[in-house]
């Protein structure tokens, strides 16, 4: 049994199944894979950029990147982490290109970060300057795409505490960026 066919049989994720079939030569399965990826990435982006035209631009960039970089997905590895890593990268790159970053603070509140705030900045390095709890909160909600409830459950705290951590982390991030600005 090949690794790919083994994956097809054991994986319950539609993305994995479609990709395995697509790599076996089924073009219809590849179209289904792309459609499913579109649905999931759109949901992720909706939490981060809101449902405006910007979302569709980033979504297209993500899909093209998934296709062009499909050789970096090893057979047998789950598609999800690979797909979300590319989507997050393209989202951050999109913000850098625009020279403006709007990050969704939490499920209800939005915080507009001033123009050029994150242009040319390394988000990972910025997060490294935050207390670990705040960095983890931002990483889970803004980079890995979890809701505040999911992130709170993941690290064992309530939704309100999670929102507070994200909020404080975002404020501190903004201060750091302002301090670094010449």
């Amino acid at each position: 049994m090949t690794r790919t066919s083994f994956q097809t049989q054991v994986s319950g994720d539609a993305l994995d199944r479609h990709m395995a079939d697509a790599r076996a030569g089924d073009r219809k399965a590849y179209r289904q894979f792309l459609a499913e990826a579109t649905r999931r990435i759109r949901a992720m982006l909706a939490r981060k950029v809101g449902a405006d035209s910007e979302l569709e631009d980033v979504l297209q960039e993500c899909l093209i990147a998934l296709h062009e970089k499909r050789h970096t997905l090893d057979p047998g590895r789950p598609v999800g982490p690979w797909m979300y890593a590319i989507a997050n990268y393209k989202l951050i790159d999109h913000w850098r290109k625009r020279g403006r970053s709007r990050l969704v603070l939490d499920d209800e509140v939005e915080m507009d970060v001033a123009a050029d705030s994150f242009a040319g900045m390394d988000i990972a390095a910025l997060l490294g300057e935050l207390p670990e709890a705040q960095a983890q909160a931002i990483r889970l909600t803004h980079i890995e795409g979890m809701t505040n409830r999911e992130a709170g459950e993941h690290i064992g705290i309530g939704v309100s505490a999670m929102k507070l951590r994200v909020h404080r982390g975002m404020l501190r991030l903004k201060e750091i960026v302002d301090e670094q600005r010449p």
């Binding site: 073009r27 399965a29 792309l34 970089k69 982490p81 690979w82 979300y84 997050n88 390394d122 990972a124």
Partner: protein, 208 residues
Amino acid sequence: MTDINSVLDQLASEGASPPSSGKLRFAGPLLAVLALCAVGAALILDGAFASMARDGMGPIAVKWGFSLILLGLSAVALFVLGKPGRPTRAVMIGVALPFVVILTLFGVEIATTGPMVYGETWRQCLMAMSVMSPIAFVGAIYAARSLAPTNLRRAGLVAGLFGGAVAMMAYAPFCPERGVGYMVVFYLLPILAMAAIGWALGPRLLRW
């Protein structure tokens, strides 16, 4: 929605099979700069392995051992960093290990004979490192760009380590110095400097 559907149709029409030359596009630049630096050093420099008659295999074994292991580990790390969604902590720890070993040996040298840092040929050594490291670094950047690194600083740093390791591997046979302290100052520090440059330039050079 229509736009997205037409994008999906277009992408799907190209199929899911990745291009067959993918691995070659990664390994090719790495092997090319490795060969370029090794052959270049052999053509330009004289006296390969001349110090072996005096010092035996020990010094060259340590220099080659360190540089080849670092070269291999950094190539693997670069490959893993180029695969989105893969955990990278283990490979980053891996590239740090050769440095830990050499610093441990340096500690032993300090405790036994005292630090042997000075060497007559330090200028030639620094020149070789400063010429060949950037050449090999460029090859590593090309290799990384054939994949999809998402942590560009980390990938740039590892490309710098690869560049330095290649330069050290190519120059080591021509180096008559034998102190571990010398190796730390005139090999490891230039390699780390190249890595720091890679860390700084990664976001510019590796963006895709």
